[in-house]
């Protein structure tokens, strides 16, 4: 094989690898055909999240119960996590109350909760939120205006958008989350 052929073969291999890498895997949550908007107004397709691991929670800004605790403990985690995983994880908050939580309210929430650029706050249609929640196993129901009964759940997604870890009570113990971020391939897929 001469040099040109080798070069072409190499390029073909790279192209193939890139294409395989950019297709969500069969278990990837990023296959969902849904559209989101970030608090800064930018449109977001889930596939665009590929490449970083995500710590994901569903919240709503008027929540007075578990949500602020969850977000606060995620934030504490983001500050205190071990150095070796610091660059690997991003934070994603999705509102389950898109009717109330406009982009302006999400921006205000970002300021209030002091969330830096590693955090995305997003909003989508009620149907898209319902679908994402269904995939994650997050249950929620609006009880009255501005209040929801809901699961208390955080999810770790790997670089391809597969669920590698979920836990209900994030505030009390983050060891399993650290391990999931360190070794995502060791984790069992969600039941």
């Amino acid at each position: 094989m001469n040099r040109t052929h080798k070069g072409i073969a190499f390029l073909a291999a790279v192209t193939l690898m890139t294409e395989v890498g950019s297709e969500p895997t069969e278990r990837s949550v990023y296959q969902l055909d849904s559209s989101w908007v970030e608090d800064n107004g930018r449109a977001l397709q889930l596939e665009a999240l590929e490449g970083d691991m995500q710590l994901l929670a569903l919240i709503y800004t008027t929540c007075t119960g578990a949500c602020p605790v969850t977000v606060k403990s995620m934030q504490m985690f983001s500050r205190n996590m071990p150095d070796d995983i610091k660059g690997r994880i991003r934070f994603l908050l999705v509102t389950v109350d898109p009717e109330h939580d406009t982009l302006a309210i999400l921006r205000e929430y970002r300021r209030e909760m002091k969330l830096d650029r590693r955090w995305k706050l997003v909003r989508g249609s009620p149907e898209d939120v319902r679908e994402l929640a269904a995939v994650l196993g997050f249950n929620y129901e609006q009880i009255e205006s501005g209040q929801f009964a809901h699961s208390n759940l955080v999810t770790v997604l790997d670089q391809r958008g597969e669920i590698v870890h979920q836990q209900n009570d994030f505030a009390s113990d983050t060891k399993a989350v650290v391990e999931a971020i360190r070794h995502p391939q060791d984790e069992q897929p969600a039941p």
Binding site: R27, S28, A134, N139, Y140, E141, I143, E144, A149, D169
Partner: protein, 258 residues
Amino acid sequence: MRHLIAIPALLLGATALAAEATAANHAARACTSACRTHEVFVPAGVYVPFFKSGTGTRAVPVEPICLNASAVTHEEFLGFVRDHPDWRKSRIKKLYAESSYLADWQDDLTPRPEVLSEPVTFVSWFAAGAYCEASGGRLPTVAEWERFAGGNAPASKPDTSGGNAPFAFAMGRSAPELASTPLTFPGVWEWTANFNSAMVSGRIGTSEGANSSQFCGDGIRAVDPSNYGAFLRYSFRSSLRANFALKNLGFRCVREVS
């Protein structure tokens, strides 16, 4: 043959409903006739959620809908996967259905011939939703489903005589005002669009025993604690995941009345 029987029955049902309609209800009567032959018209009504919120019992208004008279059959689902190859059992993505998807089909296009007219089961929420969308409808919401099918007698108990469906009493019974329609419930649980809205955990009927870290909100106090069938349905829904494909779980679709 089934259709020949169903059509007069539907007309009777529609007539009975129309007869009940008041003069002010002309719009509803027009909608009745907008439903197709295999559908039942469900007039606007009110749904009282099974669980109390902090401020007590709520009543949620429900819009009128056209409802499939029976659950989607194997034969109907076969037509869907013929036209939509991505939903065949060899092609479906793992995110959308677990490995038991259409487990009782021999291959992609072969349900067992003897069950063709029975409800298709082993279908995930995604597949059920895709079917309904392709047929111009959607899955019913919990509010809609409970409104048309939550007519079970509160004192019902499981059938322990060894039958196939001991919980059939909880799997749907026509609302009283739909009693004269051909609406049928074949003894399978049914998917709803927002199945994941139920908050049931721990000891049923009280908040004791519930894992308080798992749920936020006071959602598990029943409006009618004696309604055993409703408890079963809400518990069952709350245990589901969107990719589940179960032997006793089927679906039917609704269409919004335009």
